[in-house]
């Protein structure tokens, strides 16, 4: 009896607990596959996905895949746009030009009319042809107020399919730069499926069975992954001469750095698009892990990290103070100390290296800044910021104390370190800056309402035009909440007018663009409403164990951006897939 009871009690407790807990949770005993789509083909399961036909990636999805609705550009499962749904064009940052995709060609018929020729023979996954009607329909979705690209309809007047292959866009205000960006950013959805949906379904639908025109279709998902499977009969194989090699793509929800590193070393991951501190050791060591460059900075540049001062607060409302602040920041120390040379110091204009041709060197040398603590001290003194109480820190012109905070999200360890460096170098020049690490959501709220002193932000990515950067810097008017642009609430009507003027320059008129940009650059460098720090990397660590021929700076290697990041599939992410080769060959 005793022996039996001793063993039985825990077992009994286990049984009861299991039964009761699941019962109390609100439903019948679940099986692990409750989140699985019922339509998943069973045959792929026999021995699992074959390793040599499967690409494992991570670093794009930060939680369970939420939905497959391409209109929800911000939280749909990554790959929804790019693998399943496609855009009219792609953009090639190396050549700095649009690459026709669903569109065969596109051109300005006159100053306010743009005509797109849709390729013949493009089909949806359900076999129906993709026509000009679908294109017109997809752009018309923006008329709904809750659709994120609704503001396009402020300047777009009409879109119509004049025949099966031709779409004509008519503009009330032709914004050429912005339009190019939209051409490779907006997905085309099938009218025969989406046409019947209400505004609510368009915005909030899960779209669990996405029917797109892309090379892949949805296979299954779970809390920590999405599986895409290559679609037979993708139109692009003939029309574009492209063939993505992996039969399956498994996008693993981004785990912690250690786990990502572990999986990469175990050869369970082929491409990791997250920031792995110290990855240079792996690249230099004999671990079969590569990145774009095999020397610093190792990665291509993807976006600029900016120091954003709140220009509505004293003393950041004073351009002289902002310039002194910019001069005080020891970016080199961040690049070397915090990142171990994985990133590059930004140019004073903040324009990415891909936009080098638009940097007016004359303006930079006359109005730019370089790091110098002494120079910063001098600039502060000249502007009337003096140390009146002898604590080594300057005071406001009226004698009140200056005490600024710099906020970065907690847990973003590299940025936290960078903020500490900025605080320390500010202090060296006499500006009191204290780093603070609120949680991300709190920071977003402070940022949008303008309740901050200094923040770091890098939300604008590489794009087809520096216009997107200047829009981010100078956008007016200032709203009650600034959700995406001009967080520092900097008001300069002249600059904003120039940015709009730039928007109205045709994208093939490089000289015209340079001319306007040079004027904007002068204002930027004189006024310093936002301070460029460093270029964040296009984090891409790849393993050569299963797939080879990853993009790299080496001769003969593809030069695309090897990333599956949101909105980057059209900037070279998809093209990377077509260049891969099985390592076994």
């Amino acid at each position: 009896m005793q022996t039996r009871a001793r063993i039985l009690i825990p077992l009994l407790a286990a049984g009861l607990a299991a039964a009761a807990c699941t019962g109390g949770g609100g439903a019948a005993a679940p099986t692990p596959d409750t989140t699985e789509a019922a339509s998943a083909p069973a045959d792929a399961n026999a021995g699992g996905l074959p390793r040599n036909e499967t690409l494992y990636t991570t670093g794009t999805q930060w939680g369970p895949p939420a939905n497959f609705n391409p209109i929800r550009e911000w939280d749909s499962a990554t790959g929804t746009k790019g693998l399943v749904y496609e855009t009219l064009f792609h953009y090639d940052p190396n050549e700095a030009k649009l690459v026709p995709w669903i569109a065969e060609s596109g051109s300005w018929a006159d100053d306010k009319t743009y005509e797109v020729k849709v390729r013949q023979g493009v089909t949806w996954a359900d076999g129906k042809p993709l026509t000009a009607k679908d294109v017109a329909f997809s752009y018309s979705l923006g008329k709904m107020e809750t659709v994120p690209f609704h503001n396009m309809w402020d300047w777009l007047e009409n879109v119509e399919a004049t025949d099966d292959q031709t779409v004509r866009f008519t503009f009330s205000d032709a914004r050429y730069q912005e339009w190019d960006y939209n051409l490779y950013s907006r997905v085309i959805v099938p009218e025969h499926i989406w046409g019947g949906l209400s505004e609510e379904d368009v915005l909030n639908g899960v779209n669990e069975n996405p029917v797109g025109s892309g090379a892949y279709s949805y296979q299954s998902h779970d809390q920590d992954r999405v599986v895409w499977v290559k679609r037979d009969g993708w139109w692009g194989k003939d029309a574009l001469g492209m063939d993505p090699k992996p039969k399956y793509i498994v996008d693993v929800a981004t785990p912690s750095n250690e786990v990502a590193m572990g999986m990469l070393l175990q050869k369970g991951l082929d491409l990791s698009n997250n920031f792995l501190p110290g990855v240079s050791n792996l690249i230099n060591g004999n671990f079969g892990i590569t990145s774009y460059y095999n020397e610093p900075p190792y990665m291509l540049s993807a976006n600029t990290a900016w120091l954003v001062p709140n220009t509505t607060k004293k003393p950041m409302d004073d351009p002289a103070f902002r310039k002194a602040l910019a001069t005080s920041v020891d970016v080199k120390k961040i690049v070397e100390g915090v990142y171990g040379n994985l990133v590059k110091e930004a140019s004073p204009t903040g324009l990415l290296p891909q936009w080098d041709q638009f940097v007016d060197q004359g303006v930079v040398s006359s109005d730019g800044f370089t790091f110098s603590t002494d120079e910063a001290k001098k600039m502060l003194a000249d502007a009337g910021y003096r140390d009146r109480d002898g604590d080594g820190l300057v005071e406001n012109k009226d004698g009140s104390k200056i005490s600024l905070t710099i906020e970065v999200p907690t847990g973003w360890t590299d940025w936290m370190e960078a903020a500490r460096v900025i605080a320390a170098s500010g202090k060296a020049a006499g500006i009191e800056i204290t780093p603070e690490f609120p949680d991300f959501n709190a920071l977003v709220e402070n940022r949008s309402k303008g309740n901050f002193d200094l923040i770091i932000n890098n939300e604008r990515q590489l794009s087809s035009s520096p216009w997107t950067y200047y829009d981010y810097m100078f956008n007016l008017p200032i709203q009650k909440t600034q959700n995406t642009v001009n967080f520092g609430r900097y008001e300069n009507k002249e600059a904003w007018k120039l940015v709009q003027e730039l928007d109205g320059v045709k994208t093939d008129d490089i000289e015209g663009m340079k001319e306007v940009i040079s004027k904007i650059q002068k204002i930027h460098l004189d006024e310093m409403p936002i301070i460029p720090l460093w270029y964040n990397g296009l984090w891409a660590q790849s393993s050569n164990s299963t797939w080879k021929n990853w993009p790299s700076s080496a001769e003969g290697a593809p030069k695309y951006a090897a990333t599956m990041w949101r909105n980057w599939m059209e900037l070279g992410g998809f093209e990377t897939l077509t260049q891969l080769q099985p390592a076994a060959d």
């Binding site: 109390g24 399961n45 699992g48 074959p50 390793r51 939680g63 609704h150 572990g262 959700n483």
Partner: protein, 331 residues
């Protein structure tokens, strides 16, 4: 007996109401506005679009109703098993997310807690008063309990996972598989389960063993043991009595362990990227998804209450004094 359980049930009911209320309150009175951060993530800048989306989401989540109405709605929805829609994994219902995660957490924690409990107690009892064993089990036990869990887990993941390559380091099952009742899938499930289980098992084992060893020594030196020995009872019999007495405090300990069952897996699930409730809670907090947070906490609250109730029943079964006490109360 009825009175005993009646009283217990009443207390549990009261605790439940209080817990639900607190659970409902915390996210609502937390600083930060989930709709605002959702809109910020949506990257919408157009003021009209922002207002339209804000109005839409506020009514969708029911924030436009008076607070007392929201509270009543919460109770009503809860009894229908409806915890709302996740903000972070929009628009998946919270219940679906939790049900998807629960099997992993329970499958990990229940065997780990119970097996370590069983093995730890046996080991501790065995070691007590046996010089050689005592000298080895005790220090090992101390080392295991004193080890920071995080460190042990990372060490296991690194040693057995990355370096030796025996075990995978992430996921609930291989990334190449889809759930099904096939042999490769079950094998993969077990393969991924082994390391997190082992880490939990090892850390808990030491604690149980030390506790049991000390209790047994105490019991063996108590008067009834000495008396039994004086009567000439065999050592085996004495140890058996000592074991049953020493068991009682351990059962209480088990109740506490079962209580934190779900939440306790949080660190494990993060270290091994195991897709259970713990990972879900962490993500919910990071993303201010308070429906998901509420749902997960409700699940934990129910778990704690049920575990405690089970232990109450077990107590009646194994401790004659409780039964006598109840009989006395009735008489």
């Amino acid at each position: 007996m009825r009175q005993y359980f009646g009283r217990k049930l009443f207390i549990y009911g009261l605790t439940f109401v209080a817990a639900v209320t607190v659970n409902w309150m915390i996210p609502r009175f937390m600083p930060g506005d989930p709709v605002a951060s959702m809109l910020a993530r949506a990257r919408v800048s157009q003021p009209e679009a922002v207002e339209a989306m804000r109005a839409y989401y506020i009514s969708l989540f029911g924030f436009d109703q008076p607070v007392w109405q929201q509270y009543l709605n919460f109770w009503g929805a809860m009894f229908r098993g409806d915890f709302g829609i996740s903000i972070y994994v929009f628009p998946t219902p919270v219940t679906d997310l939790i049900l998807g995660a629960v099997p992993y957490t329970l499958g990990l924690m229940i065997p780990a807690v119970l097996l370590s409990y069983w093995a730890g107690n046996r080991l501790g009892a065995f070691a007590a008063r046996r010089q050689l064993l005592d000298n080895s089990v005790l220090p090992v036990g101390y080392i295991l309990t004193a080890t920071p869990y995080m460190w042990l887990a990372v060490l296991l993941a690194w040693g057995l996972g990355v370096v030796a390559g025996w075990f995978p380091v992430a996921g609930g099952y291989a990334f190449s598989l889809q759930p099904s009742w096939s042999w490769p899938f079950i094998e993969s499930l077990l393969h991924h389960w082994a390391l997190p289980f082992l880490s939990l098992f090892l850390v808990a084992l030491g604690g149980w063993a030390i506790g049991m060893r000390n209790m047994i020594i105490y019991e063996l030196e108590s008067d009834y043991s000495t008396y039994l020995a004086a009567l000439g009872a065999p050592a085996r019999l004495i140890r058996r009595y000592a074991y049953r007495n020493a068991m009682l405090p351990q059962i209480t300990g088990l109740a506490l362990q079962l209580g934190v069952l779900v939440a306790g897996a949080l660190v494990t699930e993060i270290v091994f990227s195991y897709p259970g409730i713990g990972s879900l809670i962490l993500k919910a907090i990071q993303n201010q998804d308070f429906f998901l947070l509420q749902g997960s906490f409700m699940f934990i609250v129910v778990g704690v209450l049920v575990a405690n109730f089970i232990i109450d029943i077990v107590y009646v079964l194994i401790d004659p004094r409780t039964r006598t006490g109840m009989a006395g109360a009735q008489a």
